[in-house]
Symmetry: C2
């Protein structure tokens, strides 16, 4: 019910400065983000027009450009949010040597923010193409993207194919249960769902056909 409807808080890039420190900014900006999150998820980033976002809010197109410099800027704001939510887990993953165990720990840490902000991560997942396009533009230097960092770990040549498959499957299990399932678990609290997924992933990582070290 209070899943992620109005819980985007402050995080993103103002089209104009606001004077104050940039606390909880105008509520219109957050309404835009909330509506965009819904529409980008259901229809895709490219399949959603500014006019449609504005229409849902009862305002007009140019009003949005007062709060965001461009359509991509809206996506960037949402992407930044997922980035910050996954930052901690990804940093820990990068600070340790990559093993089946450290991967499991990082995934475990990642599970909480993902379960708590399913909608946000689902949008991110369903719009990989658009997000990647963003990254190519903004900073072609080091873009420590969510998906990219994980995929990089999965391709680590120092691990056996068997282990890498386990890692990919565990990641997929988390994603799949939280996202692919669609609205199948829409009314299940994030904490409960997270707990059940945690058990499943543990079996996956410690099963009798699993790793040895």
């Amino acid at each position: 019910m209070r899943q992620a409807g109005a819980g985007l808080a402050a995080a993103s890039t103002p089209a104009r400065g606001r004077g104050d420190g940039g606390q909880a900014s105008g509520s219109t900006r957050e309404k835009i983000l909330d509506v965009a999150l819904d529409l980008f998820t259901d229809q895709g980033f490219d399949g959603t027009s500014m006019r449609e976002i504005a229409g849902r809010l009862g305002i007009t197109k140019p009003s949005i450009y007062y709060h965001f410099a461009s359509k991509e800027d809206i996506l960037l704001a949402l992407h930044t949010r997922t980035h910050e939510l996954s930052k901690a887990a990804l940093s820990r993953l990068a600070s340790q040597p990559l093993t089946l165990h450290t991967w499991g720990s990082a995934l475990d840490e990642l599970l909480d923010p993902m379960a708590a902000h399913r909608k946000l991560f689902l949008m991110h997942d369903r719009n990989q193409a658009a997000v990647e396009k963003l990254h190519r533009k903004d900073h072609e230097d080091e873009h420590d993207d969510f998906q990219q960092r994980l995929q990089q770990a999965l391709a680590d040549p120092s691990l056996s194919l068997r282990d890498r498959v386990r890692m990919a499957c565990s990641l997929g299990a988390v994603f799949g249960c939280l996202f692919t399932a669609g609205d199948a678990f829409g009314d299940v609290p994030g904490a409960e769902l997270g707990s059940l997924v945690r058990d499943a992933v543990r079996d996956l990582m410690t099963g009798r056909s699993a790793a040895q070290a």
Copy 2:
């Protein structure tokens, strides 16, 4: 190497009749499907223009309209292919009472065509929004879509939440290993990858924290 580059064979909707039974049609049509598969996967359906597809083939936009009635028709042709590849497994799933065991069997059957045609299913997965839009138009009656049938099973109220989570995780594990991993397993033969995933899913479904019946 010979993953799914030119292996789309015959399956879809000709813009014009061809006279003969509709065997292996002109090779241009299949080249279009191959290029579209790549571009739709990388840039998304909406992010890919007809001009771009034509450009890669060294032809022009209108030439494509000789082979396909519309851009959506290209997507439909690709979608139909995935539908046929998953038809058998989904039918078996629907013909049996839904349990953890029958789910596992169906998933096991589904794993083979998915591993053998990763690119095709990846495209389908990355363009859910566009595919769903197709379904709303073409036949608003009974659209037995791939994703939809699976999600429907995951929402079955006769099963416990615990079991449903297991099912979603196992499905996600398959998807995740085959798709989310990106190119991490790009050079691994489908059969080998499928075998490893099979083992992982088995652990997931029979783990000590798993079901009871």
